[in-house]
């Protein structure tokens, strides 16, 4: 009985913590960036809300591209430190890859 009580309290505590965060900080914590490095996209799955602008930055020492499997977006060849952005208006799952190194795959999930 006591254990149950503790568990409930702990649950309440977590909710309270989340609700306590200011709105702006919550927005800032939602990732909208993808880092390209070591022949990979991170995060491999990026979840964003509809209307979000996502920015890819190439931190690798070799160029990469960001190309949607369904031809919805396509970057030029990004050299080191170059960026590409795309705003996802519609919900859905958007798999993409690097057309120079097609083994590099990832996706953006838009809610």
């Amino acid at each position: 009985m006591l254990v149950g009580g503790f568990a409930q309290l702990a649950g309440l505590g977590e909710h309270a913590h989340a609700a306590g965060l200011p709105h702006q900080q919550m927005q800032h914590e939602m990732a909208t960036e993808v880092k390209i490095d070591n022949f990979s996209f991170s995060p491999a799955t990026l979840e964003v809300k509809a209307g979000t602008k996502v920015t890819w930055t190439n931190a690798d020492d070799i160029p990469h591209t960001v190309v949607s499997n369904d031809k919805i977006f396509k970057s030029k060849a990004l050299d080191t430190d170059e960026k590409f952005s795309f705003t996802f208006e519609k919900p859905g799952t958007y798999p993409y890859f690097c057309s120079l190194h097609p083994k590099m795959t990832a996706k953006v999930v838009v809610q």
């Binding site: 020492d61 070799i62 499997n69 083994k103």
Partner: protein
């Protein structure tokens, strides 16, 4: 002191060349040797004594060179001077006994498909003592506008994304393009149109005609995890199977590697720009940094000699030291 790592990629004739003769030549390869088969006899020439070599003695019936992955425009720590190392490669070619007749570039000529990058390479290659140069693109050459710049400069007489064939001294050369229309998660790809063209192109050739196929990404499965292979190469290889001598020359992996399968010898060239790790020896296949004084020993050129009557071409790699 590190020895030069010239290697002989040898043919698998089995006629007249005894294993001991081959191994003896291999031992000399460490000092920079060109081994040429002529009339069934293996001759070797030390590259350090070039001045003493009679060019006709060193030549087979046809000799040419392959360079690859010059990545003009690359300027990161792995090699801040790709212009200098490309020039060193040309110097190496010009020092080979009996000037090779032509040069094959197996792609990634440029780093970012930029016009000035193509310009720079063309300018530097003018210094090579060869009569002509033939190209196939790498994925870095077709990164803008689906390869428009590449085709304008090097696509004359070619079809589709730049595939073409030509004949020299009875040897049939086929340049294939396996770097366009790459699919997510995939490897290199030739595509149905090119494969149909290839089948047609080879149809009239006698099986005794030596064939040399050159393409950027390896046509055999070197390391699929890193995209080092071509999805539909099996079909291409099936058209090549009936020929008595097939040499496949590739680039892309920035290191020399070879494989022999029946009558087909597969060979990849080193880059003239930067090395890459051996399969699986790093997290990813990116530029590999080596101590500056070792850089030129892991870059290189490949020279190929054909002697009529021999089944396979003699392929020799030289580094840029």
């Amino acid at each position: 002191m590190k020895k030069m790592e010239d290697e002989i990629k040898f043919d698998h004739n089995g006629d007249g060349i005894d294993r001991r003769g081959f191994l003896k030549c291999m031992a000399w390869a460490g000092t920079g040797t060109l081994c040429v088969m002529k009339g069934g006899v293996m001759k070797s020439f030390s590259l350090s004594r070039l001045g003493e070599i009679d060019p006709t003695a060193a030549a087979g019936e046809l000799s040419f060179v392959q360079i690859s992955d010059s990545h003009m425009g690359f300027n990161k720590p792995a090699n801040p001077d790709v212009i200098g190392t490309l020039k060193a490669a040309i110097d190496k070619i010009n020092a080979l006994p009996g000037n090779p007749e032509f040069l094959l570039h197996t792609g990634d000529i440029t780093h970012l498909s930029k016009p000035e990058e193509f310009d720079n390479v063309q300018e530097i290659l003018k210094g090579a003592k060869v009569k002509e140069a033939f190209y196939v693109p790498g994925e870095h050459d077709v990164a803008i506008d689906e390869g428009k710049e590449y085709l304008e400069r090097h696509g004359k007489g070619s079809k589709g994304a730049g595939w073409h064939s030509f004949d020299k001294n009875g040897v049939h050369f086929v340049g294939l393009v396996n770097v366009v229309n790459l699919k997510a998660g995939g490897l290199g790809t030739l595509g149905a149109e090119q494969l149909e063209w290839l089948e047609d192109d080879l149809r009239a050739k006698k099986s005794s005609t030596p064939i040399v196929v050159f393409a950027h990404i390896p046509l055999w499965s070197v390391y699929p995890e890193w995209g080092w292979g071509t999805e539909d190469s099996a079909r291409a290889l099936s058209y090549l199977k009936r020929f008595g001598s097939v040499t496949v020359l590739n680039g892309h992996i920035h290191q020399t590697m070879q494989k022999i399968e029946g009558n087909i010898t597969f060979h990849t060239a080193a880059s003239t720009a930067f090395p890459q790790p051996a399969p699986g020896k790093a997290d990813s296949p990116g530029p590999m940094k080596v101590p500056a004084e070792q850089l030129r020993s892991v870059l290189g050129v490949t020279s190929v000699n054909f002697v009529r009557g021999q089944k396979a071409l003699a392929v020799v790699d030289s580094n840029l030291k």
